[in-house]
Symmetry: C2
Subunit: 178 residues, 2 copies
DNA sequence: CAAAAACATGTAAATAATTACATGTATAAA
DNA sequence: TTTATACATGTAATTATTTACATGTTTTTG
């Protein structure tokens, strides 16, 4: 029962831009794409093996310091073809992820329930922090706005900023209704 | 390595409102909470067994038609205590779900890439449809706005509507930048 | 009335994801 | 120089999730 294994495409997409190590790939999810996907190193390393076995990528060993050799992965032409195929294919309707906080809200019925205010305030703080961080990322990485050679990256960062801003405003509105 | 198993809380929360069958619980994810969580019946039925073994819920058999007996699940007091504990606990920062479409965008660098327009248009249609559906749900279920006894439900529906509206506007903006 | 759809409940099998365990090297900080 | 942190790469074990398989009953539709 093959599911769609999107992680393979993400890996191919990332190394298509430039060759990367397994560690680089893992760290990538701490940054911008981590707002829209998640993967741990323990998933990534076996996946790299699988993709290499399918000739979608190859690796070269490079020497760091005195002893360590790291593996740097490069996409193959076969890999590029598959990546492009994925990019061109219609994207199935997504299911919007899991928001535990929202589920909690659903189960609180009374507008005057005393649990509401602390919940909303706590989340507001988290989301404000995230909004600030993302806004900063956007101005740091794209100081003059969209540019023609990093357009997709710009788009998704604006998306993340808008999402957090909207979430923040919604939380504030909810607090005002108590 | 216990993860947090949020599904158990969702099940408890749902049957706390009123007793439900396994089938009802499964169908619940087709509706409002499905915008924020996902579960299949094959996950739900074993979970119900586990929760009953832990005395967090019980079931009664009720007769339908001539032969069929369905199981209707009711939360126990132990279950209620656990549910309340979860509701009161701080909610860990969520990871925002997986958006395949956004990942595709990330890998498209050139603003004039011919793949962009069809992608954006396709997603715009999907999200407009979803926005319409959710807006309708909101007006159908809450014709006069927030009410004091279904407040949480109202909040999350407005959240879903806003999210889709924001997504739609973002897609439109992106299209105007091509 | 027959067929289709909805209701109802499982289990098995496989993939995906997370936590845990493990080892070692190189660089930065104290 | 030593310690702490980051870099680097695995594997094992477990939980979570999805797809597949399966059977039967009741209600709705044609």
């Amino acid at each position: 029962m093959a599911q769609r294994n999107i992680l393979q495409f993400i890996i191919l997409g990332l190394i298509h831009e430039r060759p990367l190590t397994g560690y680089d790939l893992t760290k990538a999810f701490d940054n911008d794409i981590g707002e829209f996907w998640s993967a741990k190193h323990s998933q990534i390393y076996p996946q790299l093996k699988t993709l290499e076995a399918k000739a979608l990528l190859t690796h070269t060993d490079e020497v760091t310091g005195e002893k360590l050799t790291r593996k740097r992965y490069t996409i193959t032409e076969t890999g590029q073809a598959l990546l492009n195929q994925w990019l061109r294919a219609p994207t199935p309707e997504s299911h919007n992820g899991k928001d535990e906080f929202v589920l909690k809200l659903y189960f609180i019925q009374q507008q005057n329930d005393p649990r509401l205010r602390p919940m909303l305030i706590e989340q507001l703080m988290l989301h404000e922090q995230r909004l600030n961080h993302l806004t900063q990322q956007l101005t740091t990485k794209f100081p003059t706005g969209a540019n023609a050679t990093d357009f997709g990256h710009f788009l998704i960062l604006t998306h993340a900023v808008r999402r957090e801003r909207d979430y923040t405003v919604w939380l504030q509105d909810a607090l005002h209704q108590l």
